[in-house]
């Protein structure tokens, strides 16, 4: 059961389009998995649209003469529906053919994990899996200027060394469960961590746990051999 959701404020910013793109990806993927937040997003979208476009008290700017030209220009454009196949419009199913080129699953160790819709495009941009320590696997996802996100798979008993965060870390549980000494997390949970949190993620169930994670600053490892990683942690988890 999903117990950890984005804040209402984050959902509102997501609807406005003002949340950072990287965090938007995680919020969007969470909503793919969480009907509760999906509903909040729908309501918020309606509310915002209505306040922007249906409030007649807002005095509108004078009708610009540019609008006449714009209208004439637009209505001369062809429809997106191919004129030879008008029936297509009625039978068009949203999100059909083209999108399906993106893989809907990600594979590791002979297992295929189904991805939430938002993350499907990134399945194609995912690098190879590499082993970090024992039962911990990571595959980086290039997000351009947004930095690097990672699919992280914790095999049964696998654990990320204890660490804290210099920046922020957003994690979405895609498949399985894990605990980190602070809480237990289940599939669909949306987890936010910053420098106030020190934790040791660990998957104990035999299915292991797949998460998607975005950090804006390298992690800071706080114990054991992993401390050796700190001077180089920007090369690992970032």
């Amino acid at each position: 059961m999903i117990r950890f959701h984005p804040h209402t404020q984050q959902l509102e910013s997501f609807v406005e389009g003002s949340l950072s793109p990287a965090v938007s990806i995680l919020v969007s993927a969470h909503c793919d998995m969480c009907s509760h937040c999906q509903r909040i997003v729908e309501i918020e979208t309606e509310r915002l649209a209505s306040s922007l476009f249906e409030d007649n008290r807002v005095s509108e700017p004078l009708f610009s003469p540019d609008f006449d030209n714009m209208l004439a220009h637009i209505t001369q454009m062809p429809s997106a529906v191919h004129p030879d196949h008008p029936a297509q419009s009625r039978h068009h199913k949203p999100r059909s053919h083209n999108k399906e080129r993106s893989a809907s699953t990600i594979e590791l160790d002979g297992r295929a994990f189904t991805l939430p819709r938002t993350l499907r495009r990134y399945a194609d941009k995912t690098g190879n899996w590499s082993s970090l320590v024992g039962k911990l696997w990571q595959a980086p996802v290039e997000l351009g200027n947004q930095g690097v996100a990672n699919f992280i798979y914790m095999g049964p008993g696998g654990s990320v060394p204890e660490h804290t965060h210099r920046g922020t870390e957003y994690t979405l549980v895609l498949d399985g469960e894990f605990s980190d000494g602070l809480n237990n997390y289940d599939t669909g949970d949306f987890i936010f961590m910053d420098d106030q949190h020190t934790h040791t993620p660990r998957a104990d169930k035999k299915e292991g746990c797949l998460v998607f994670s975005i950090v804006d600053q390298p992690l800071h490892f706080t114990s054991g051999l992993a401390r050796l990683l700190n001077p180089f942690s920007h090369l690992f988890f970032r």
Binding site: G17, F53, L71, I74, G127, S130
Partner: protein, 203 residues
């Protein structure tokens, strides 16, 4: 030609509910018959409102008008994707505008299409995103760093291990090994430099 159709003042007096019903009907007429007259009604209602939204968002008249034009072009071309059961015309048109604004801002910031609005809010699902594959650097693993660590001279290994794994201070290490603090510092620096060099080579 529809140029010159006057702005109907009645538009601004109608109640939101009635407005939604009326606008839905126009959008259906556009989808089914490419009805320019119906589109003009939708346009006349939404274009000025979109412009004031766009001005606030983009802070610039030219960009604002570009946003209005792109949004209304999509409404004209993709009206068959509007579904009154799923939401009001305002909501549908807002989501289109919001998505275009999102992509415009990404573009203005010279970002590649790393994150595109269609992934976040698939309103106009016919659009497909470019799949620009970026080559990914080789990843460094903890095991690799372990091997590199073993390749360090013994004296450097001892210092690094004491500081980074045992968590001792440089002074403590100096006292234990009975060597000057400056030597501990330089060994640490040399070791980290060397590890960094090896990591870069292994990439």
């Amino acid at each position: 030609m529809l140029v010159g159709i006057p702005l109907e003042q009645s538009n601004s007096a109608i109640k939101p509910k009635e407005c939604a019903v009326e606008m839905s009907e126009y959008l259906v007429a556009v989808a089914e018959h490419r009805c320019k007259r119906s589109f003009a009604r939708v346009f006349n209602y939404f274009a000025p409102r979109l412009r004031s939204y766009a001005l606030k968002q983009m802070g610039n008249e030219a960009l604002a008008m570009e946003l209005v034009q792109d949004t209304m072009s999509n409404v004209w071309q993709k009206s068959h994707l509007f579904n009154a059961e799923k939401g009001s015309p305002s909501t549908w048109i807002f989501t289109i505008a919001r998505n275009i604004r999102f992509d415009m801002l990404r573009k203005l910031q010279n970002r590649k299409e790393d994150v595109c609005s269609d992934d976040l809010w698939p309103v106009l699902c016919e659009q497909t995103a470019d799949l620009n594959e970026a080559p990914l650097d080789e990843q460094v693993t903890l095991e690799q760093i372990g091997h590199l660590f073993e390749a360090l001279p013994d004296k450097q290994q001892t210092v690094i291990e004491s500081i980074y794994i045992d968590g001792k201070s440089q002074q403590e290490v100096a006292d234990e090994l009975d060597i000057p603090l400056g030597t501990v510092k330089s060994r640490t620096r040399l070791a980290l430099q060397r590890l960094k060099g090896m990591l870069q080579d292994s990439e």
